[in-house]
Amino acid sequence: MADLAGIDWAVAAVLLPLIGAMACFAVPRAAATIGLAAVAVTGAAALALGLQVAAEGALTVPLGGWGAPLGIDLRADGLSVVMLVMTAGVGLLVSLSALGERDARRRRYFWPLWLLLLTGLNGVYLSGDLFNLYVMIEVISIAAIGLTVLRGNLAALKAGLEYLFASMVGAILFLLAVGLVYLNYGRLDLSGLAGIAGAGDAVLAAVLALTLVGMALKTALFPLHYWLPAAHAGATAPASALLSALVVKASLYIVLRLFQYLVAPSEVMVTLIGALGATAMLWGGIQALRAPRLKLLVAWSTVAQVGLIFVAFARAGADGTAESWKAAALIMLAHALAKAAMFLAAGRIKDEVGHDEIARLDRSPIRPTLAQFTFALAAISLIGLPPTAGFAGKWMLMEGAIAAGYWHWVVVTLVGTLLSVAVFSRVLAGFLRFDRVRGPLGEHQGWALADAPPLVLALGALGLGLIAVQVLAFLEIGAPLGGTTGVWP
């Protein structure tokens, strides 16, 4: 795989952020400069890997030269590259918006934690080994918890501890699954397991159940979402953006991959996943309607969107997950861009207005117009209006579900969509009403350079919808989820 001056881009995508994290920690004064450079270089490596995969197809890197099952393989196909590039792009823009942090302690620790998080995320997207996935999700979870509590107040610390406990339970369930797999098959490489795992295997059922519950805990699928709203709403704006846009995606990705490599889920399991997703969509929507604060509303919307992704995975198409995973992946991308934009915009609104109580937003004489515009754009994508990426994903979901005759799932998705319209109208109405303002208005428009990164992200969510066809074609490289061997009864 040695390519272009002998650089292995897959390895680089994992080691570059790690080296950056170490440098940031060693030289705290230059942390922001080093950190930003490291994220940019990592993004370049992800792009280079993408070009390589586009030219040569899916590639495998046998680390240490041993090859699976004795060694660990990295594997990059269309899905991994799309996740890597998405992570790098969103990460870079969130990094830019984090440059404005004034608190010295937060400045010092944000960068090493975020780069360690990036190491873990990229590691998950390239991993070809079950136990390696376990180690990588632990890198992610410790870094993510560090980011959750970075604000340092009691509420954030308590939310972080609850998140840590949920995350530890999820990891232990995953470890049990690893144990069962090794006990039965004596190997942990995903590509090797794809060949062995037989249909109707009781052990495999246990493994799938354990990993599904473990990852549902980490990605906050209803009813295991209880930790998410407080954790995501209580963090600083850049940290919330990273947690909601990127961190939950890693465990979703693992669910997609396990169904690819182990076995396609059975009808019962698909229905269960879809039902939980639908409940999450409705419950998250209802809670978002009731949320008193803007950031809490955005956090509950993540619960609803995770539900939508599971509904798409379960029901977008008659061919089961071999087809529907693409709709799920597209909604994951759309959500990453739009949610990062939305959390950053919400943070900007809170900074300018001085609070984020939704009921009082329409009384504020200060209107951070650009941040409000960004919020609205992101809301359009999350609701799923054309031409956004959110629309493209939802369209695939609807089209697939209609083609397969899953009418009640179409209805559920529509109800979820209406709920999100209602949720975001609550906020947007406050932005647009001026009659309740006491005192002069429009003196301070609250524009700043810090409005640029969220705006670019929101425009990205819009633009991604226009190139959805190309993204879908790229996702198919290496045929992820095409080669499942059996169906679990």
Binding site: G64, N132, A202
Partner: protein
């Protein structure tokens, strides 16, 4: 059938009983002490299952360092607990859930082939090319070195997270009385020797970077307890260097050998042994420093008068 069977059954029952006792203990201090005993019993069970390396790691890190961390936290927050109790229906519901999960796992475990497939043949076949003679070390530092690098990264992430959280100064009382401090002074050099030996032994027999690092970490913890060493803000740069050294050397060697015809992590055969020993040695020191820092629990910031607390 024989005495060993009686021993195994007794030990297994003791483990389950201890696990219950740890979580049922009224007093938190008692719970932690029982937990340390549980860890040592677990190590014993793993020796019985022919896993001496893991037993060493569990005794040193799982029981020893973890126990020290728990006791230190207990001392810092005091034993007071909220009188909150879980309502009975929840207890019954969760109990039923846990029982269902456990019995499902039990069924899956019993259905699995006894002493089924594994990688021992592949390990044995490639051991000569790995650069070390001890299979577990070969797996940790060569075949699955990527995992091990990331494991050191987890430890590094933990110390960053802990430093980012903790700001409170320590209560200014000495942690050990004069008698214990004297013991610590005698024990320190001996423990250093043991730690270094474990590291060196890892190439050929049970032992290695993690066990050696844990023992050296325990040395540092003793030194902290006896106030033979008091972290000062001026030491932060050294501390950062010590945490980073292992990850940095490991990552740079792994990436460095990947330039040219080889893969990342693919040591040239002639250099495999020296490179692995280099990585192990530096990683051991980093693990020791990191574990001690996790025990100390915060960044030594110029906050309070605590630094001058030594009598």
């Amino acid at each position: 059938m024989d005495a060993m069977l009686v021993f195994d059954v007794a030990l297994a029952l003791a483990l389950v009983g201890l696990a219950w006792a740890v979580l049922a203990a009224e007093d938190l201090f008692a719970a932690v002490v029982l937990f340390i005993v549980f860890g040592l019993m677990t190590a014993l069970a793993w020796v019985r299952l022919a896993a001496p390396d893991v037993a060493l790691a569990e005794a040193a890190i799982g029981a020893g360092v973890t126990g020290a961390l728990l006791l230190a936290t207990l001392r810092r927050i005091g034993g007071a607990e909220s009188a909150e109790t879980t309502p009975r229906p929840v207890l019954i519901g969760v109990g039923a859930l846990a029982a269902a999960v456990t019995s499902g796992l039990g069924a899956a475990f019993l259905a699995a082939p006894a002493q089924g497939p594994g990688l021992e043949a592949a390990i044995a076949a490639n051991l000569a090319a790995s650069g070390v003679e001890h299979p577990v070390t070969a797996v940790l530092l060569n075949y699955r070195a990527y995992d091990t690098l990331m494991e050191v990264v987890v430890l590094f992430a933990a110390v960053v997270a802990v430093w980012s959280v903790a700001q409170a100064p320590e209560p200014a009382t000495p942690l050990l009385g004069p008698l214990h401090a004297g013991f610590a002074r005698v024990a320190l050099p001996a423990a250093v020797v043991v730690g270094a030996y474990l590291l060196w032994a890892g190439a050929t027999m049970p032992g290695g970077a993690f066990q050696g690092g844990a023992v050296l970490g325990a040395v540092a913890i003793l030194a902290l307890l006896a106030r033979d060493y008091v972290p000062a803000p001026a030491h932060r740069a050294w501390a950062r260097g010590a945490f980073l050294a292992g990850t940095a050397v490991f990552a740079l060697v792994a990436a460095g050998v990947g330039f040219g015809p080889r893969m990342a992590f693919e040591y040239p055969p002639a250099l495999a042994k020296p490179l692995i020993l280099l990585i192990e040695a530096v990683v051991t020191l980093s693990i020791a420093a990191t574990l001690a820092a996790l025990f100390f629990g915060r960044e030594p910031e110029p906050l309070g008068v605590e630094v001058e607390a030594r009598k």
